[in-house]
Symmetry: C2
Subunit: 140 residues, 2 copies
């Protein structure tokens, strides 16, 4: 049952299952000392890491390569005030191994932007948390 | 027309119009030195600031009161690979003025969680940026 505070914590497996259902998430990082957030399409690798596809010289790569970031995804229904959110926190890094890069050109995400060259960025799923908000309006 | 890199920057007014269309956004901040992100329902005040409704002693209030945060919202269509995203960056602060708090109990956002007491947090819209991704699949 849902606790009285309105939401239920999801375990790691539930989190990863929810994450696999949506095509877009948001990378959360720091840029010039300010909080920054970028929505981007992604996929999950078989080790549960988050994979992004971007251009080699992008601002994103410069900002997050080698840095701990958060990656968030969610779905909410305003009519029922219900939904879920998942956050993966871990170190991001450009995939530099050539064979790995080749594998990901076949199985990894495709950028929604037209790119001439691509690199893949992997976000390790070191911490995975999530919660589900149960629907229904309560007396405030 | 859309530039060849796939997206168009939105001006401040366009950003605020898009933001007004969705019920949920994400607060992006730092917690224990790590990037943190929390989806939450919100509304826009008449001065274009972002208003949140939360409990007085919440982790969120402790983390962001008086701090510069980012607030992000978006809508994406995976089938057409199109959508938009808007980020408001500015200082967050609990609304302490009693008359202002009263006004917001009538006109401000209502928490999706059952709360006994509420405080409102205002995020000043000091910086508002946004972009629109045009749809269509290009040759990779």
């Amino acid at each position: 049952m849902f606790p009285t505070d309105g939401f239920r914590a999801l375990d790691r497996q539930e989190c990863l299952r929810m994450l696999a259902k949506v095509p877009v998430g948001r990378v959360v990082y720091t840029r010039q000392a300010l909080p920054a957030v970028l929505p981007i399409n992604f996929s999950l690798d078989t080790d549960a890491s988050v994979l992004l596809c971007t251009s080699p010289g992008s601002d994103l790569v410069r900002a997050i390569d080698g840095v701990v970031v958060a990656f968030e995804a969610d779905e909410f229904n305003a009519a029922t005030r219900s939904g879920w959110s998942v956050v993966v926190t871990g170190r991001a890094g450009v995939v530099t191994d050539r064979a790995e890069h080749e594998r990901l050109t076949q199985t990894g995400p495709t950028s929604w932007m037209p790119l001439r060259d691509v690199v893949f960025v992997r976000i390790e799923s070191e911490m995975v948390t999530g919660r589900e908000l149960n629907g229904g309006l309560s007396t405030p």
